[in-house]
C-alpha cells in the first residue's frame, strides 16, 4: 500500500468519508454534495467570519478548510491559525470538509513535526476524524462536541 491508500484507510476507520478528485473537479463536487458549504479557502468568507459571533458560527452547517498536510499512519490533518479566521470554526461547524493535496502526505507523526513550527504558531491542530465518544458503555457515537461529520477531499 502506498501512503495515500494508508491515509484513506485510516481516515475511513476513524469515521471520515474520503473523496479523491482532480483539482478541476473540486468546484462541481462541492456544488453537488455540499450546496450550503462555507468555503474558508476563500478570503471573502474568511473576512466575513473573522469577527463573527459564536451564535452566528454555531449556525454553520458545513465548513471547508484547506489542510496544510496529512499524516498517512493515522489520518491526521494539520490546520493552524493562518488557515482559520477564528479558531473555533472547525469545531463548532456541524459538518467539516478538509481538502488536502496528495503531494502533501507524510508517513508518520515524526515526519509531521518536522513540517511544523510551533514556535511561530499561536494555535494548531491535527484533526483525524469526526468528533466522537464512547463514554456510554463503550458504544462509539460520532458527534460528541465537535463536527459530527468529516469529509476529506484528496486533490491530485
Amino acid at each position: 500500500m502506498n501512503n495515500i491508500d494508508i491515509l484513506k484507510e485510516r481516515l475511513e476507520n476513524a469515521g471520515a468519508s474520503v473523496i479523491l478528485l482532480t483539482e478541476n473537479q473540486l468546484q462541481s463536487c462541492l456544488e453537488t454534495h455540499f450546496p450550503s458549504i462555507l468555503n474558508f479557502t476563500d478570503t471573502v468568507t474568511c473576512e466575513e467570519y473573522r469577527k463573527a459571533s459564536l451564535e452566528k458560527m454555531e449556525k454553520i452547517d458545513t465548513a471547508l478548510f484547506a489542510g496544510r498536510f496529512a499524516v498517512a499512519e493515522n489520518g491526521a490533518i494539520w490546520l493552524e491559525d493562518e488557515d482559520l479566521p477564528q479558531r473555533v470554526l472547525p469545531f463548532i461547524t456541524q459538518k467539516l470538509v478538509l481538502q488536502i493535496h496528495v503531494s502533501k502526505v507524510v508517513d508518520t507523526m515524526q515526519e509531521a513535526y518536522q513540517q511544523i513550527s510551533l514556535q511561530n504558531t499561536g494555535f494548531g491542530v491535527f484533526i483525524s476524524g469526526p468528533s466522537k465518544t464512547a463514554d456510554i458503555e463503550q458504544s462509539l457515537v460520532y458527534g460528541a462536541h465537535g463536527a459530527r461529520e468529516l469529509t476529506v477531499i484528496m486533490l491530485s
Binding site: G75, I92, M109, Q119, S131, T133, D135, G146, A147
Partner: protein, 455 residues
C-alpha cells in the same frame, strides 16, 4: 479484609456488570495490541519515550524554566503552585480577577487530584465538566473510575436515568446515540456562554512554550476557543524538551489508551486568541519529594494513558472505585502510598505482580517492580496490617530453614488430606475464600526430584 478487597467484593456482587467490565477493558487492551502491532518500530518508540522522560526528570528545573521563558515571551501567564491548596487558590484568583461566571472544564487528572471542583463549589462557583463521561459522573456526584474511561463502571440504563432526571430525556431511554445527542445540545449551550475554560495538559514543550491537549470529543477546543480566558493545568512532569519529541509521544498515546492511531484532535496552544488571555498553571503537589526517591521516581514518567488499567487482571475484576485513590489501577497503586503510606497500604497488595502493566506501558514505567518495592517498604515501616506482618515473618522463617520447611511440607500434605474442610477454610485463611486448594500430592517436589534424577 483490606479496604480494596472489601470494595472489590461489592463490585463483584453484581456478576453481570463485573463480567462486562472485565471483558470490555480486555477488548480495549486487544485493540491496543492490534494497532501497536501495526507499528514496526513500536518497541523503539517506547524506549525513546522512556529515555526522553528520564532526561526530563533529571533536568526538570532547566526545562521548566525554558518553558516559562518561551510561554511568557508569547504573552502567556505562567503560574506555579506548590500544593493542592495553592493550586486551587490560584484558579480561584483567576476566576475572581476575570469575574468569570460560566466555567467549563475538559479532562484534567490534576484538578481531580487537587479536588478543584469541590473547592470551588464550597465557594459558590460551579464548574461544568464537558467530557461526556465526566459530565455523567458529575451529574451523579461520583468520582471517575478510570482515567481515560471515567464512566466505565456505569450501564447505559443508569446513564439514561440520570439524563432523564437532569436533562429531561425520555424516561427509560438508554440508546447511546440518543443520550450523546442530548448531552451535545446541553453542553453546546454551556460552551456558547462560557467565559472561562479550564483544561488539562498532555504535553508541554519546553523549546516552544506550547501546551498540547488530546481529545476525541473536541470539548477542550470548544471550551478554549469559545471562552475569552483559557487556563491550562499541568503537573511539573508534563514537560517534554522539544517539538520533535511530540512525534514519538503522539504515536504512542492514543494507541496505548484506546487502540486508536491518534486522538481525533491533537491541539497545540501557544498564544491566546485575539483579545483573549492564556494561563498555564504548573503544580508540584508532592512530585518533587517523589523525584528525590530513585526507587519511585520513574512513576513520574507516566503519560496517563490508562493502558495499565485495561490490562490489569485485578483492575478489570475489581473496578476503579475499589482503589479509592484518584488514580486507580497499577499506576495509582504506586503513586498513592507516596501520599499517605498508612491510608493506601493495601494498594500495592492489590496486584498479582504479573508484570503486564509494565509490559504495556508506553513510557516503560517499571510499575510491577515498584509495587514489589512498596510491599517491602510498607512492611518495614509497619504500615500493613498486623496479621499480614506476622504471617510474612513466619513464612520467612520457614522458607529460610530447610529442615523446618520439609517437616511442615510433610505435615501440610497429611493435614490437607485428613483435616475437615471447615478447618482448612477457617476465617483466617483469606486465600481460601472463593478458592479451593488442589488435592495434595503424595510426595514433595524435592522427593520426586531425588527419586527421578537417580534413574
Amino acid at each position: 479484609m483490606s479496604e480494596h478487597a472489601k470494595k472489590a467484593k461489592l463490585f463483584l456482587a453484581d456478576e453481570s456488570r463485573s463480567r462486562w467490565h472485565d471483558e470490555t477493558l480486555w477488548m480495549v487492551r486487544q485493540k491496543r495490541d492490534h494497532v501497536a502491532g501495526m507499528v514496526p518500530e513500536w518497541e523503539d518508540l517506547r524506549q525513546q519515550a522512556s529515555d526522553i522522560k528520564t532526561d526530563v526528570l533529571e533536568h526538570l528545573p532547566k526545562y521548566l524554566q525554558q518553558f516559562e521563558e518561551k510561554a511568557t515571551h508569547h504573552g502567556v501567564i505562567v503560574l506555579h503552585a506548590k500544593d493542592a491548596n495553592e493550586f486551587n487558590q490560584l484558579i480561584l484568583s483567576i476566576i475572581e480577577k476575570h469575574e468569570a461566571k460560566n466555567i467549563v472544564k475538559s479532562k484534567s487528572m490534576l484538578t481531580e487530584e487537587c479536588g478543584l471542583n469541590r473547592f470551588l463549589h464550597t465557594r459558590g462557583i460551579e464548574v461544568t465538566d464537558t467530557d461526556l463521561g465526566e459530565r455523567i459522573i458529575q451529574f451523579r456526584g461520583e468520582a471517575p473510575s478510570h482515567i481515560v474511561l471515567p464512566a466505565i463502571h456505569l450501564k447505559k440504563e443508569e446513564i439514561g436515568e440520570t439524563f432523564h432526571e437532569k436533562l429531561g430525556t425520555e424516561a427509560g431511554a438508554s440508546d447511546p446515540t440518543y443520550l450523546t445527542r442530548a448531552a451535545r445540545l446541553h453542553l453546546r449551550q454551556k460552551f456558547l456562554s462560557a467565559d472561562l475554560a479550564i483544561t488539562g495538559v498532555n504535553f508541554a514543550i519546553a523549546e516552544t512554550g506550547t501546551v498540547v491537549v488530546c481529545t476525541n470529543e473536541g470539548n477542550a477546543d470548544m471550551g478554549v476557543h469559545c471562552a475569552p480566558i483559557q487556563v491550562h493545568c499541568m503537573g511539573i512532569e508534563k514537560i517534554i524538551p522539544r517539538q520533535t519529541d511530540l512525534g514519538i509521544f503522539t504515536r504512542l498515546l492514543a494507541r496505548s489508551a484506546t487502540g486508536q492511531h491518534v486522538t481525533t484532535y491533537t491541539s497545540h496552544y501557544g498564544k491566546a486568541k485575539p483579545g483573549g488571555t492564556m494561563y498555564v498553571v504548573i503544580a508540584d503537589n508532592g512530585r518533587t519529594p517523589q523525584l528525590a526517591e530513585p526507587k519511585y521516581r520513574q512513576a513520574l514518567k507516566c503519560l496517563r494513558c490508562g493502558a495499565c488499567m485495561n490490562t490489569c487482571p485485578v483492575f478489570r475484576r475489581s473496578g476503579g472505585h475499589s482503589y479509592g485513590y484518584t488514580i486507580p489501577g497499577p499506576i495509582g497503586s504506586i503513586l498513592a502510598p507516596r501520599r499517605d503510606e498508612k491510608k493506601w497500604s493495601d494498594l500495592p497488595i492489590a496486584s498479582s505482580l504479573c508484570g503486564s502493566c509494565s509490559n504495556v506501558c508506553p513510557a516503560k514505567v517499571n510499575i510491577h517492580e515498584q509495587l514489589y518495592a512498596w510491599r517491602q517498604d510498607l512492611m518495614q515501616h509497619k504500615k500493613t496490617s498486623w496479621l499480614k506482618r506476622v504471617t510474612m515473618k513466619i513464612t520467612g522463617i520457614v522458607l529460610a530453614n530447610n529442615g523446618l520447611y520439609n517437616l511442615l511440607g510433610f505435615a501440610a500434605r497429611k493435614a490437607l488430606k485428613y483435616l475437615p474442610h471447615s478447618w482448612v477454610y477457617m476465617p483466617l485463611n483469606a486465600w481460601g475464600r472463593g478458592r479451593e486448594l488442589p488435592l495434595p500430592p503424595k510426595q514433595s517436589f524435592k522427593q520426586w526430584y531425588k527419586q527421578n534424577r537417580k534413574k
